[in-house]
Subunit: 303 residues, 2 copies
């Protein structure tokens, strides 16, 4: 099975209470594909400028990520500068420079038009629709979004939400999209718009999966040293989709995909940028999956 | 096995975005004992004024709660008036009148001195110590507290924390007590003070149990219609301790106790005051426990 991710590749400057890093690579598609690459072959469609570090492209290739859909164009790469204060669930954007991303109009290479699994990372919903129209007959389409599009391009967003299988979104964005502060009510409203499956990311509080008539909820894997939450949501999505691409879709696999997504996010927050993912070994994923499972397990006792 | 709860009985006036109720009965020991009464026989030690409604005392007795340790004294019952705004995790206190509670000096009746399970609800830590000194040799002592005592009576609080088996506390209070914003670090610091077991209540985000070297974490049972969170923490503690009193202490029982505590809290928030607990049937507890278990269950899949 093949997995394609379309989204942003960026150069981030991030400051958290525990460290800072100028000009490291970031972007939703980058984080997503690194996480997914531990499970499956991933192809990436994105745009970068001339300044994107060659060494980082080589790192992505070393993870067997197919970059043939990454367009290198004149100008500078998309840049994001942000800070986290005491509440690490909230990113404060200091500066955004779209640069080459401003004219991003993703063209899916011919050999990727028949992919089975598609992830539309957080980009303009009009571009998400354009990408989807270029894919022949995907088995599974998942999509992320953010408040910027919920507020600024609501109609386009509604169109894409109607066309996808899985919406992966954080809790505040879900409530904003549904205009309902209760998570269950908001989930129902958004699923009524189209996606049969909804994954709600709750940061340090875990995630909830809505699939058919079922709900599955997990806390986050508790982490002592949260250094930098940048990319946690995309890393979650990468683990989630990577696992599904590897194992196929079933109710139990969707639940496991939430666990593997949480595992990948839990590694990512343990370092600045994606340093931790760079050194990550597959055996560490299995070990943390087991630790996570122990933390969730109990044998039922009736009263 | 016998369970004794010592704490406050109160008359509450509460306003939430979904309703309001003047002068309904409340108090930490009241909520605790009603929840626990679905699992085991509970005895209550508290103080009330002459104005405490007789009908409500009869309701407590109808739940087989032993009130022989409840002292009725001249004056008015402890009163609390509060409001919840949009974020129902935060109670805004409008008025507190200690009334007869001001001179509360719990005396444990002779026939209760040999109880096995003791819950010290959120009262002055000096009183918690005094109660503990009156009990012969309890099998298990659990205790709750709040910011008021963490800030105002820290030394006394440290003394009682050193003497108990289980601290049941919310996440913000844990971090305040430990002076550490990371939940895992805070948990370690507080367990180093004495209690072998720590239960951290996270409101709508669930609960975490720390016991020996193990962690167990659950989300909250998702509720569509959260009407009034008053007493949710005490109801959780009541389900938790009620279940342990019924089934005994073991690592797996502690995990199940967290689930039953969550189940009881999930019912309680569905109505103003404890209306929902008044109509609750035991079979509904079993049914929600099963629903909760389905929501947490997955069959492991390795990668």
């Amino acid at each position: 099975m093949t997995l394609l991710a379309v989204g942003s590749m960026a150069i981030d400057s991030v400051k958290t209470p525990f460290g800072e890093r100028d000009e490291s690579i970031g972007g939703s598609a980058t984080y997503f594909s690194i996480a997914a690459s531990f499970f499956t072959k991933v192809s990436l469609v994105a745009v970068i400028g001339e300044d994107f570090p060659q060494a980082e492209l080589e790192f992505l290739q070393s993870r067997d990520i197919d970059l043939s859909g990454v367009e290198k164009t004149d100008g500078k790469t998309f840049r994001w500068k942000g800070e986290y204060h005491e509440d690490m669930n909230i990113a404060h954007t200091l500066d955004t420079q779209l640069n080459v991303f401003e004219n991003f109009n993703p063209e899916i290479p011919r050999f990727l038009k028949d992919v089975d699994y598609l992830f539309l990372a957080n980009i303009d919903p009009d571009l998400q629709i354009s990408v989807l129209n270029q894919i022949d007959s995907p088995k599974l389409v998942a999509c992320d979004t953010m408040n910027f599009w919920i507020e600024g391009k609501n109609d386009s967003l509604m169109n894409i939400v109607n066309l996808i299988d899985i919406l992966i979104i954080n809790d505040a964005e879900l409530c904003s999209l549904a205009k309902d502060k209760n998570l269950l009510n908001a989930a129902k409203k958004v699923r009524d718009l189209g996606p049969s499956t909804l994954v709600v990311k709750r940061g340090e509080f875990g995630a909830i999966l809505f699939h058919e008539e079922e709900i599955f909820a997990v806390p986050a894997f508790p982490i002592k040293n949260v250094i930098d939450p940048t990319g946690a949501g995309d890393t979650f999505a990468g683990g989630f989709m990577g696992f599904l691409t590897l194992k196929g879709i079933s109710p139990n696999n969707l639940r496991n995909a939430v666990i593997y997504g949480s595992v990948m996010a839990s590694f990512n927050v343990q370092s600045l940028s994606f340093d931790r993912l760079k050194s990550l070994e597959k055996v560490e994923i299995s070990r943390r999956y087991e630790e996570f499972s122990s933390l969730l397990h109990y044998d039922k006792v009736q009263v």
